[in-house]
Structure formats: structure tokens, C-alpha cells
């Protein structure tokens, strides 16, 4: 500091590099173009909009009061079926996804072809919506709960497998190397080395998917795959809005309850 004052360096600090800024600006511009183009070209029939407030009021006045007598008659059984579909579907997905995610984890299976195969199954499972899975399974197995369970399961395999596979890849090497050094067979390394490390992640992914599946299984009935959606569909087709209102209220309370249950369990296991 005793020397002559340092000559000020002409330098401007920026948060992003030029290429980062160009990439960001491109995305902003593309987003703007996409939004403007979509709003301008999308087909909206303005005549329908004029009476929208009246229609909405009409909708709610038809929904209330609910047709409570309908609950014990049909909704209760349909609701239980929905819960079973969601839960069984989740369990089936766990059973199918578990071995696949061991195949997908690059630190457990050291074979790029098997890794890729498992990843491919996950991606294709996730890119088909559960309603589309339901359409396919209803065509194959006919309407009913079986199609619902299978569609929930097939949609969930990708989700569970991807998240659980990532948890496996983050497993610590130490315990696994220790077990390998004792000469433990691969199956024991899996059960005593990997599993204790990833078990909390497993249950947490399972709960998360179960929560989502409760929501999804409520609509599967619209295409005939069983559950409360079947009751909803017939109420809609008959324009019994007081039944529709009751079904929606039931779905809402079940979803809120599930969320409370899953968050309580999750706080306990993590």
C-alpha cells in the first residue's frame, strides 16, 4: 500500500457471460413470440363468453344443495374403489419399478445397455398420460378397476423409477465397499449395503406418488377405468349437477385428507 496508488482497472463486472446473456435473451424473445402467436391465433368463440357469468351462477345454483342421499347409494362404494385403485396401482408400480431402478442406477449396474434400457422404459412410461394409459387398458381389459390399477401403475413406473434410481446413484460408496471387501454376494450388497441407505428415499417417493395417484384415479372413470370417475361421468351425462357437486366435494376432502396423512408420515420417516 506504500507504493503509488494503483491505477484503476477499467472493468465492469457482470453477473453473466455474454453467451449466457444471449441464451437468456433468446429464450425471453422466443417466449414472447410464442405467447403472442398463441393468443392471436387460438380459436375462441366470443359468443360463448357473453353468458359465462350467468352460466357459472347457474352451475353453482344447480349444484347446491348437494344430493346427499346419493352418497350412501353410489358414491361411497365408488370412493372406496378409487382409493383401492390408487393404492394397488402404486404398489404394483413399486414392485415393477424397484428392479428397474437398480438396473438404471449406473453405480449398481455397470452395463450401459441395461442402464439405457431401464431409462427408456421410464421415459416412455412417463410420457404417456395416465388417462391415455387408461384408454389403452380399457380397450384391452374392458372397463373396470383392473384397467384403472394397471394405468395408474404404468404411469407411475417412470416417476418412481427415475426418482428412486437417482437416490440409488447418490448412495455412499463406503458401506458398499466394506461389504464387497468381506466377499458378500451381490444380493447381500443390495440388501445390506444399498437398501438401508435408500429406504427413506424409497418410502418418500412411494408416498409422493400415492398422493398424486389419489388425484389421478379420480378421473380415470371418465374413460371407464373404474372408481369415482364413473359416478362423476354418469352424473354429468344426466346433468345431475347436485350429484356432481357432491362428488367434487368428496374428491376434495379425500385429497386434502391424503395430503395431511402423507405429510405426517413423511415428517416421521425423514
Amino acid at each position: 500500500m506504500s507504493a503509488a496508488p494503483l491505477s484503476p482497472v477499467e472493468r465492469e463486472w457482470r453477473r453473466f457471460t455474454p453467451s449466457e446473456r444471449i441464451a437468456r435473451a433468446t429464450i425471453y424473445i422466443l417466449t414472447a413470440i410464442a405467447v403472442v402467436w398463441s393468443i392471436k391465433t387460438i380459436e375462441i368463440i366470443p359468443e360463448f363468453l357473453y353468458d359465462a357469468p350467468a352460466q357459472t351462477l347457474d352451475l353453482f345454483s344447480r349444484m347446491w344443495p348437494f344430493d346427499w342421499a346419493f352418497y350412501p347409494k353410489e358414491i361411497h362404494a365408488a370412493l372406496i374403489e378409487t382409493l383401492h385403485i390408487a393404492t394397488l396401482g402404486t404398489i404394483l408400480a413399486l414392485i415393477l419399478a424397484l428392479p428397474l431402478s437398480f438396473l438404471a442406477a449406473r453405480n449398481f449396474t455397470r452395463n450401459p445397455i441395461l442402464n439405457f434400457l431401464a431409462q427408456f422404459i421410464f421415459v416412455s412410461s412417463r410420457s404417456v398420460n395416465s388417462l391415455i394409459w387408461a384408454l389403452l387398458f380399457v380397450a384391452v381389459f374392458g372397463p373396470g378397476a383392473l384397467s384403472g390399477v394397471l394405468s395408474i401403475a404404468f404411469r407411475s413406473i417412470g416417476f418412481v423409477g427415475k426418482l428412486f434410481g437417482e437416490a440409488l446413484e447418490e448412495a455412499q460408496r463406503g458401506p458398499i465397499e466394506a461389504l464387497t471387501a468381506t466377499g458378500a454376494p451381490k444380493s447381500m450388497i443390495l440388501v445390506k449395503g444399498y437398501w438401508p441407505q435408500v429406504e427413506p428415499a424409497f418410502w418418500s417417493v412411494a408416498l409422493l406418488r400415492w398422493d398424486i395417484n389419489i388425484r389421478e384415479s379420480a378421473v380415470l372413470g371418465l374413460v371407464g377405468a373404474g372408481g369415482i370417475g364413473v359416478a362423476l361421468d354418469s352424473a354429468l351425462n344426466n346433468l345431475y349437477w347436485d350429484q356432481v357437486g357432491l362428488i367434487l366435494a368428496v374428491i376434495f376432502s379425500v385429497v386434502v385428507l391424503t395430503e395431511i396423512v402423507t405429510s405426517t408420515i413423511r415428517r416421521r420417516i425423514i
Partner: protein
């Protein structure tokens, strides 16, 4: 331990791998439940096998996919409408999620406001977009608008819930520092809150675009516009070859979107 007194009684060593009873009970419970529920739902192996027979016929009718020109045109307009629905609903849904998320954040809003915002979010989140679009089809008629409104609602449910969590996790010191300069509420928002949470918010928005694209292909089943309507019509008419063509288009679109959203998220990290 190696210098233990031989006079003391030897303590039995604890097992190397103690039994985890909670998890064992959970497994047994799951297995029992599976047996019970399978019998309740009348899921049987025989039914499954009969289904597989049907499945072979179904697949035979699906192949080869139908690429006739008139079908392709129908699919093109449907897909385009689905993309438009996804873009518009993500834009407005994400835009509206920002104030709703800030209102729901407990560290920024007074208790009554955050509770009412949370209740609204819970209502938005609990219904599948397809159910919401049934209601909007009744309110605003058939067509893309019903789908857009339904997806705006579900986007708001998802994005504002996670955005509120992001805001609650942010660093309070920067907010205090800006507040200490005498900044107004809006200045605190713009200079202390937004810079901390913006990157995560963009990530949520991109994720939501991805999810809206998936759902915009579905709202058409109940009249909400997009590719879902031709898909469902073809399905009900047993035109399974057209169904396959549409499914291939949807899957292609979703895979493309997934790749693009991964790219965008990396840019904004």
C-alpha cells in the same frame, strides 16, 4: 474393548444388522393389504389372461398407424391447438401465481392473508385439470378457452404452492438490510425478494409448461379443446390406427418438450 477384564461377564455383541421392525411391519401390512384389495376388486389372473388375448387383437388393429392426409390435417390442427392452450395457460397461470405465491408465503404476509391464499391453493390443487375443465366447459362452452382456464387454475395451484415454499426458504437478512434503508414494500419485493427467488421461479414455470403440454392433450376428452377431442372420437369409433398415430404425435411432442425444458432449466440455473 480389546482390554476387557476377563472377570466381567462377556456382553453379547449387538447384531450387525438389527431388525427394523417399523419397516418390517410396513411391508407385512402392504402385502396383506394387496391380497385384500385384489380380492375386493375382483382382479383375477383369468381375467388378465383373457385381456391379453384382447390385447393382441387390439394391437393388430392399431398397426399400421393411419397416415391418411385428411387425418393428418385433423391431427395437425389438434396438436397446434394443444400447444397454444399450453403456452397461453402457462403464461397466465405463472403470471398469476407470482402474487398468489407471495401472498401465501408466511414470512411476507400477515396470517389471515397467507391462510386464505393457502386455502385457495389447496382448492386449485386438489382437482385434476380434466375435472376442472368439465366445470369450465359448462361455464364458457366447448372449445380451447375452457381448457385454457382449467390449466390456468391447475398451474396456479402447483406453481404458487412451490413458489411460496421457495419464498419462505429465502434468506431473511437481505430483506432486513433493504428494509433498514427505509425501502417501501414494493422496493423490498423488487430488490430483496425477487433476486433470491427468481431462478427457482423460472424453473417452476418451465416445469409447469411441460406439465401443461401433457394435460392440454387431455382436456379435449371432456370438450376443452386440443388433440384430446379427435383422440377420444377416434377411440370411440374403434379407429385404433388413428389412435396410434395421435399417440405417437403426443409422445413425440412430450419428449421434445422434456428435452427443451431440460435445456432451458440449465440456462437459468
Amino acid at each position: 474393548m480389546s482390554l476387557a477384564d476377563p472377570a466381567l461377564p462377556a456382553k453379547p455383541r449387538p447384531p450387525a444388522f438389527p431388525v427394523n421392525w417399523t419397516s418390517r411391519i410396513a411391508w407385512i401390512g402392504l402385502a396383506l393389504y394387496t391380497l385384500y384389495a385384489t380380492s375386493i376388486l375382483e382382479l383375477s389372473w383369468a381375467r388378465f389372461v383373457t385381456g391379453l388375448d384382447n390385447g393382441a387383437k387390439f394391437l393388430a388393429r392399431m398397426f399400421p398407424p393411419n397416415f391418411a392426409a385428411d387425418k393428418l390435417e385433423l391431427i395437425y390442427t389438434g396438436m397446434l391447438e394443444s400447444i397454444q392452450i399450453a403456452v397461453v395457460s402457462t403464461f397466465f397461470g405463472v403470471l398469476l401465481s407470482m402474487p398468489l405465491g407471495l401472498m401465501a408465503a408466511r414470512n411476507l404476509s400477515p396470517g389471515w392473508l397467507s391462510w386464505s391464499a393457502r386455502a385457495l391453493i389447496a382448492v386449485f390443487r386438489s382437482f385434476h385439470p380434466v375435472i376442472v375443465s368439465i366445470l369450465f366447459v359448462k361455464a364458457v362452452g366447448f372449445g380451447a378457452l375452457a381448457g385454457i382456464l382449467a390449466l390456468i387454475v391447475s398451474s396456479m395451484g402447483f406453481v404458487s404452492k412451490l413458489f411460496a415454499e421457495v419464498v419462505e426458504e429465502m434468506n431473511a437478512k437481505q430483506v432486513e438490510a433493504v428494509r433498514a434503508t427505509g425501502a417501501s414494500f414494493w422496493n423490498v419485493l423488487i430488490f430483496a425478494v425477487m433476486p433470491q427467488v427468481m431462478a427457482r421461479f423460472v424453473g417452476l414455470a418451465v416445469y409447469q409448461l411441460d406439465s401443461n403440454l401433457r394435460n392440454s392433450t387431455m382436456v379435449g376428452i371432456v370438450g376443452g379443446g386440443g388433440i384430446g377431442a379427435p383422440l377420444f372420437t377416434a377411440y370411440q369409433r374403434f379407429d385404433y390406427d388413428v389412435v396410434l398415430t395421435i399417440l405417437l404425435c403426443i409422445i413425440g411432442l412430450i419428449m421434445l418438450a422434456e428435452m427443451a425444458s431440460g435445456r432451458i432449466r440449465r440456462i437459468f440455473q
